[in-house]
């Protein structure tokens, strides 16, 4: 399995989209996304094959090309289970995102070009084993978002786009500084992740760089109090934009926190774990409570994303193998789930032309498919067993509980409480939108079209694949978490 494929396919697709005629752009994008999805499955299969064959190297399919040799920067690629999970997630979200954007006809080519470019950034990010290219891909993924929101968005789109771009760039600026600190502070003068991981970085360097890196990546994953780009950004974005934003982009942060900050700097992680936990717990509860008060459907899901991503950070902050596994599973789960959620909100919006939940009602009658999907995704969001959310959240909880002191306990209990609040707001939203008497004016709206159905089915199958059979994801992720924990316990 050549990992370069994962970058080249989107690259070729992107160029193809640009060169194509306007009408063909979406087909090319769809084709590219489909091939990428297949490639991701091939990767998964190849990965399993290697693992079952007894290959226990941490990173598989490693490739390394010199890029800036004088600066010790190399194009170093490789995957472990966590990356594979993230790549799968991305592939799912991308194809669904392309499908729900079928009707975009304002600057179609540019739209799909940016979508694919964004996915390129994400794929590259997940397979990078060199901090420099990791950062490179991270930043590639930012500006397309800005344009997607600013050009194709709705509402306060320019404001939201600006806020998003600036906050994310602020985050990446922190990452940048942390990266530099790592480069020089480690004494190794390299950006190579495995090489850096082998060293034990001086504790004082870790104490400086860890917060920078963690906070930097944390901003991407809605770390309180830097989450404010999330609601505005998501709600202003076009449907596919929101899906990518919540489904992929926020995961970049979580992945970065784990892969870079915690993996390289276990001492730093220990030092700041409590702060992370506090912030994550605040985000979880506060996001949930803030969601309760929202009227705009997209805001509801956006704030709930803040809350859900809090679980990612909480799991990371708990520093147990189970919790970290849970955090990664939560990333994947939330990615698929929230992408579907936004897709459905988009579909509903296209039909009702409103996003205020109060103005909708009884849609189950006229759009059974969409509404059923809404039920499924809602239930997934509130952590119903059998759907992905449950598995991830429970893993985080169980993992968190393994810390036996009062502080962690209280944080865990507080976080657990959010499942009730989540139930409140999700049911409220579903109740208002799908149930109740059908509001006047919506009698004639039609159910999902084929592309929307396909997108929904793809994402639901993702949710079910995790929810019904979590063991494969768990098996994929656990070894990665284990290595981090080993490093953590080795350093004293």
């Amino acid at each position: 399995m050549n990992l370069l494929l994962l970058i080249l396919i989107p690259l070729v697709t992107a160029v193809g989209v640009l060169l194509a005629a306007k009408q063909q752009a979406k087909w090319i994008a769809f084709g590219g996304a489909a091939i990428q999805l297949i490639t991701s499955f091939v990767l998964l299969a190849a990965f399993y094959a290697q693992r079952t064959a007894g290959n226990t190297t941490q990173f598989l399919f490693e490739q390394q090309y010199n890029w800036f040799p004088s600066l010790n920067i190399s194009f170093h690629l490789g995957v472990d289970g966590i990356s594979v999970a993230m790549i799968l997630l991305t592939a799912f979200v991308v194809i669904a995102g392309v499908l729900v954007s079928w009707k975009v006809d304002k600057m179609t080519k540019e739209f799909f070009f940016l979508l694919i470019l964004l996915s390129l950034g994400a794929y590259g990010f997940f397979i990078s084993l060199d901090l420099f290219i990791l950062f490179f891909f991270l930043e590639i993924a930012v500006i397309p978002k800005y344009l997607l929101i600013g050009i194709w968005g709705s509402g306060k789109k320019q404001y939201a786009a600006n806020k998003l771009a600036l906050l994310l760039m602020f985050g990446s600026a922190l990452v940048l500084v942390g990266m530099m600190g790592t480069y020089f502070g480690s004494g190794a003068h390299t950006f190579d992740l495995p090489a850096l991981a082998k060293l034990n970085m001086p504790v004082e360097v870790q104490k400086i760089c860890f917060p920078l890196l963690f906070a930097g990546f944390g901003i991407f994953t809605a770390l309180f109090p830097f989450h404010t780009w999330v609601p505005d950004g998501h709600s202003a974005a076009p449907t596919a934009g929101s899906m990518f934003l919540a489904g992929i982009s926020m995961k970049l942060g979580g992945y970065g926190c784990l892969r870079v900050a915690m993996y390289l700097m276990p001492e730093g992680a220990k030092e700041y774990a409590n702060i992370i936990i506090i912030l994550a717990t605040i985000a979880i509860l506060y996001g949930a409570f803030a969601t309760m008060m929202q009227q705009d459907f997209k805001y509801i899901n956006a704030y709930s994303s803040v809350s859900h991503c809090g679980f990612v950070l909480l799991g990371l902050g708990m520093l147990t193998k189970t919790a970290i596994t849970g955090a990664v599973m939560q990333m994947v789960s939330h990615g698929v789930m929230t992408a579907l959620f936004f897709a459905i909100i988009g579909m509903i919006y296209e039909r009702t032309h409103t996003r205020q939940v109060n103005e909708m009602g009884g849609l189950l009658k006229v759009t059974p498919f969409i509404s059923t999907a809404l039920f499924i995704v809602g239930l997934c969001s509130l952590g119903l067993p059998g759907l992905s959310g449950f598995v991830a959240e429970m893993t985080v909880f169980v993992g968190s509980w393994q810390n036996a002191d009062a502080f962690h306990r209280i944080a865990t209990i507080a976080a657990c409480m959010s499942i009730v609040v989540t139930a409140v707001y999700i049911l409220r939203a579903i109740g208002k939108v799908a149930m109740g008497p059908l509001k006047a004016g919506y009698e004639t709206i039609t159910d999902a079209t084929w592309n929307e159905r396909l997108a929904t089915i793809i994402l639901i199958s993702g949710i079910l694949a995790i929810g019904l059979a979590p063991f494969w994801l768990n098996d994929l992720v656990r070894p990665g978490a284990e290595i981090i924990m080993q490093k953590m316990s080795a350093s004293h």
Partner: protein, 465 residues
């Protein structure tokens, strides 16, 4: 004699071109179109010549020295001038003083070459003047425009003022050490107060040329008022040349004062970034905007310079190379629009994408590169500057630089927003892009994309440094 020709190759070629133009001017035998093509060909030859037979050595008893790095730097400037000749073809063809403009530009370029090769303070001063006085004249080339005269006036007066300060500093250096030779100076310099003061006088002159805050105030006015071609030359070529020299002088000559200049650069670079950004935030005129953005860029260059290592030199040279592509592409588009549609306000750029897709993409690419967004080369340039700066392990400084990067993004995005997102009843009408301009823009775009992605370019530069 042979050595003389190889070592001074760059200067000689430029001088020859300069005199050729002079003869043509006297002869007056060509239309502007043909003349421009001729000039472009000459400049292309000049650029190509920069690649052959490069040697290291010194002439005139040390007044002149050259090496591969210096030739590279000169050739980067050559490339910039070549691009200017392509990008501003529209304006050149309309101009009634085409050969004169190029004579002045090339003499300024020649001054920069000598500046890069200068081996003592006298040569340094003379070539500095040679590099700047013609530019003041070039600033006045929009003869009918009030702002053009104003710009030229501001330029020549402030520049003379700064030379006064520079000279005073040089005289003190001379008084304190008894030598003006770069080779002898480092051994004689110390951190005695008078020498520190003399150094600061000298530094201020550099700061003036590089538009470092608080010596930057002329920049915006001059950029705005001058013809766009001059502005481009000033903001790219001239700035690049001074940055190169600045690095050399600081690293080689003033190494004994490192502890002073490191703090000085750190302080001024922070101030420069902040002030540049703050002013850029609120500009309405796009040239003025680019002026402040280039001030902020200088702040970043200073970050790289502060490193005091070979990597610092390499990153500065690399950044300038990228900066030439990016900023020239931006000025190219701005100049084209200014000359054809006569619009310079950012508000006029609203909705540009609807009518001018190619130009919009070009300027967007340029702005992204200036903002340091991957995959454009600006990303690599900025990153390597910051990386070089970070080698001093001064995290506070690096954080400020990184945060300023974000602020700068805000205003670059403002233009992107205007072009792509904001509606406009009457967007700028479709603009005819001549072949020459198109070629220039495409070269710039290719440079913006490829310079970063092709890793060995940086490596090559680092190798020379």
């Amino acid at each position: 004699m042979n050595e003389f020709f190889t070592l001074m190759k760059s200067e000689l070629v430029v001088t020859i071109i300069l005199f050729l133009l002079l003869f043509i001017k006297i002869g007056k035998g060509m239309s502007n179109e043909r003349l421009l093509v001729f000039i472009q060909v000459l400049l292309l030859i000049n650029f190509i010549a920069g690649f052959v037979a490069n040697e290291e050595g010194s002439l005139f008893g040390g007044l002149y020295y050259t090496g591969e790095m210096i030739v590279l730097q000169k050739n980067i400037l050559n490339l910039g001038v070549l691009l200017i000749s392509l990008l501003f073809a529209d304006w050149f063809i309309k101009s009634s003083h085409l050969p004169e403009f190029f004579i002045l530009m090339l003499s300024s370029l020649l001054g920069m070459f000598f500046l890069l090769s200068s081996g003592n303070l006298l040569m340094f001063y003379l070539s500095l003047e040679l590099a700047s006085i013609p530019v003041a004249a070039m600033a006045n080339f929009d003869l009918q425009k009030r702002t053009s005269s104003e710009a030229a006036m501001k330029m020549i007066l402030t520049s003379a003022f700064s030379s006064g300060i520079l000279l005073f500093g040089i005289s003190l250096v001379y008084g304190a050490t008894g030598t003006i030779s770069f080779e002898a100076l480092p051994a004689l310099l110390s951190a005695a107060p008078l020498q520190v003061m003399a150094f600061i006088f000298l530094f201020a002159a550099f700061a003036f040329k590089l538009s470092i805050v608080p010596f930057h105030l002329w920049t915006a006015d001059v950029y705005q008022g001058s013809p766009t071609a001059t502005t481009a030359f000033l903001s790219v070529i001239s700035k690049g040349a001074f940055a190169f020299v600045f690095v050399t002088v600081l690293y080689k000559v003033f190494q004994p004062l490192h502890s002073v200049w490191y703090n000085l650069i750190m302080l001024l670079s922070i101030v420069t970034m902040i002030v540049g950004n703050l002013f850029a935030l609120r500009q309405q005129n796009i040239k003025r905007f680019l002026a402040f953005s280039s001030i902020a860029q200088v702040g970043f260059i200073l970050v790289g310079i502060s490193s005091n290592t070979a990597e610092g030199t390499a990153s500065v040279v690399y950044f300038i190379l990228i900066y030439i592509f990016s900023n020239l592409a931006a000025f190219g588009v701005v100049g084209l629009i200014a000359s054809q549609a006569n619009r310079e306000s950012i508000n006029d750029y609203r909705g540009l994408y609807q009518t001018n897709k190619f130009l919009s993409w070009m300027i967007a690419l340029a702005l992204f590169s200036l903002a340091g967004i991957p995959p454009t080369a600006g990303f690599f340039g900025k990153l390597f500057l910051i990386k070089a700066g970070a080698s001093q392990a001064n995290y506070f400084y690096i954080i400020i630089a990184a945060v300023n990067l974000v602020v700068s993004l805000y205003y670059y995005l403002k233009i992107i927003r205007a072009i792509f997102m904001e509606p406009n009843e009457q967007p700028i009408a479709a603009i005819r892009v001549s072949f020459s301009v198109k070629l220039g823009l495409v070269i710039c775009a290719a440079g913006i994309i490829l310079t970063g992605l092709i890793g060995w370019i940086y490596d090559y530069i680092q190798l020379l440094g």
